[in-house]
């Protein structure tokens, strides 16, 4: 199976880190071939940043994601720039607090930023909530692999918080909230 996942949001949300964690999870713990890329520029600070992961059973040659089957979108501008034209059978996870439009493909709204702030007290873990949701709402990555990759990637002392965020995300992801 091959998956092309695209993340977008604004700078500071950890859009690239999300992709890195997903990539690590798939490569190291689901034993897949993975290529992770991103677009970034100074303008990305104010505007929309984007990162992408290809997960495949076979070696990945052409490395760029051109037509993702899975989206994780965390800002309205990100939606407009990188998520407005998904293919029909794609699945889009979106932060329902920050993305106001809705796509033409199936989607799951996750109130990640709100939950991160209100329930977990740290807005910064919104991206981990989205990753958790990704693992429960799509076949892209296994929860086990994701958990291990998160533990590898987050700063010491924040493991518990991040795992909690992931779990919450998984719950929100299974619950749906989709179109």
């Amino acid at each position: 199976m091959r998956h092309e996942v695209r993340f977008s949001g604004f700078g500071g949300q950890g859009i690239i880190l999300s992709a890195v964690i997903l990539g690590r999870a798939a490569a190291l713990y689901d034993d897949k071939h993975v290529v992770q890329t991103q677009v970034y520029g100074p303008e990305a600070r104010g505007g929309a940043s984007m990162s992408a992961v290809i997960i495949d059973d076979e070696p990945i040659l052409y490395p760029k994601v051109r037509d993702p089957d899975t989206y994780v979108i965390m800002s309205q501008q990100g939606f407009e720039k990188y998520g407005s034209n998904p293919r029909k059978d794609a699945v889009m996870l979106l932060d329902s607090d920050l993305v106001h439009d809705r796509p033409s493909c199936p989607w799951v709204g996750i109130a990640a930023t709100g939950v991160a702030k209100k329930e977990l007290g740290r807005e910064i873990v919104a991206n981990i909530i989205m990753l958790g949701a990704l693992s429960s709402a799509t076949p892209v990555i296994s929860g086990k692999a994701l958990e291990k990759a998160i533990l590898d990637s987050v700063p010491k002392g924040t493991e518990e918080l991040n795992l909690k965020a992931m779990k919450r995300g998984q719950e929100l992801g299974s619950a749906g909230g989709s179109s």
């Binding site: 490569a27 993975v34 520029g41 100074p42 990305a44 040659l61 052409y62 760029k64 051109r66």
Partner: protein
């Protein structure tokens, strides 16, 4: 792991103990990784210099103490290094430069990939000279070729360039780090031999500072003792021709490449990121009559390899520039050579290359 980090790790695996650099997108992660790793390695030094000119100077100075030394930069910084690159060539200083190419000219597109410095690396400093330039197309190659660059630098006593690009430098893939990498240090200067007397391969032995050989090193035209002799045409002619031929004459030994499908009629000549698309087209999609020559070492240009495709009707050269290495291919063959240029940061798509094959078919 990211290509840039893999490159830093490749250097460390090869025993690099001195890094002098100056931050610049999209190469900065190389320096940042070195800054994190080197302070923990005894006898190693990471130093952020005041600019790229100083970075290049510092790694040359470090190389003369016998250290394996390296810097990393991108276009604007690379341009600033040109004078001291010429100095490294002239003084036969082994050192490694990583250039993570971005969109130029000028500040251009700091965060987008390109291969626009491929002629600069060969001709960017004043005067006649030759260098060795490697181009990785995967994170694994970033590691392997960086390590290899140090061996080539020492073997030929010359600056060696890892000419990567933003696409590969910022891409993350799995990297397998070997238990150890091959390390070939320079020949030592035999007792009684002058410090710039070449061996039979045109390369002099190396006597780093502190070994009591009292070497005088100068960027002026010099004799075998290293003393300036700047008005003697024969001296200059002999020195500069040797500096060039020690590399050019060894192009066979140096060449590092992959050939797929020698029977191909349409042959891609490729290096760096576009190799990925070429492989997608040839290896995966198996577009008929196509094959490729992947150059992991672009300079010295191994022109003989072009002869390895006896049925070739046209060479197709996809580059992320307006056509640089295609000029070199064109000089050496009489059949059509088709450039496929992409600039602006986007890698060629497989469709781009399939289209080029069609054009080649229709014109040959």
């Amino acid at each position: 792991m990211q290509g840039n980090i893999a490159s830093a790790e490749g250097a460390l695996a090869a025993g690099c103990t001195f890094f002098g650099g100056y931050p610049i997108t999209p190469s900065t992660e190389v320096a940042e990784h070195m800054a994190a790793r080197m302070p923990k390695i005894k006898g190693s030094c990471f130093i952020q210099m005041e600019d790229e000119i100083a970075s290049m100077a510092a790694i040359i100075g470090a190389a003369w103490t016998g250290a394996r030394s390296m810097t990393a930069t991108s276009g604007p910084g690379f341009s600033l290094m040109m004078e001291n690159i010429g100095y490294a060539v002239m003084t036969e200083t082994p050192c490694v430069l990583v250039n993570i190419q971005r969109g130029g000219p000028s500040t251009g597109q700091p965060t987008m990939g390109a291969q626009g410095d491929m002629m600069q690396v060969r001709f960017g400093s004043h005067g006649d000279y030759s260098i060795i330039a490697l181009c990785p197309s995967s994170v694994q190659e970033c590691f392997d070729l960086t390590a290899k660059a140090f061996n080539l630098a020492d073997r030929f006593r010359t600056p060696v360039f890892l000419m990567a690009d933003e696409v590969i430098g910022h891409m993350r893939e799995k990297l397998e780090i070997p238990d150890s990498v091959e390390i070939v240090r320079p020949k030592t200067l035999p007792e009684g031999m002058l410090p710039f007397t070449p061996g039979p391969d045109g390369v002099p032995g190396f006597a780093p500072f502190g070994t009591g050989r009292y070497t005088h090193v100068t960027g002026l035209t010099h004799d075998e003792r290293g003393y300036p002799d700047t008005t003697n045409p024969a001296r200059h002619d002999a020195l500069v021709r040797r500096l060039v031929s020690k590399i050019e004459d060894a192009r066979h030994e140096i060449a590092d490449y992959t050939i797929v499908n020698e029977d191909a009629e349409y042959v891609f000549v490729c290096y760096g990121a576009p190799v990925r698309t070429v492989k997608e087209v040839v290896d995966k999609r198996k577009v008929p009559k196509t094959g490729y020559l992947q150059l992991r070492i672009v300079w010295p240009f191994p022109e003989e390899l072009l002869k390895r495709f006896p049925k070739c009707r046209a060479f197709i050269v996809p580059e992320m520039n307006l056509g640089m290495i295609v000029r070199e291919v064109g000089r050496h063959v009489k059949i059509p050579v088709i450039p496929v240029s992409r600039i602006g940061g986007e890698l060629h798509t497989p469709e781009d290359l399939i289209e080029a094959v069609k054009i080649a078919e229709s014109t040959t």
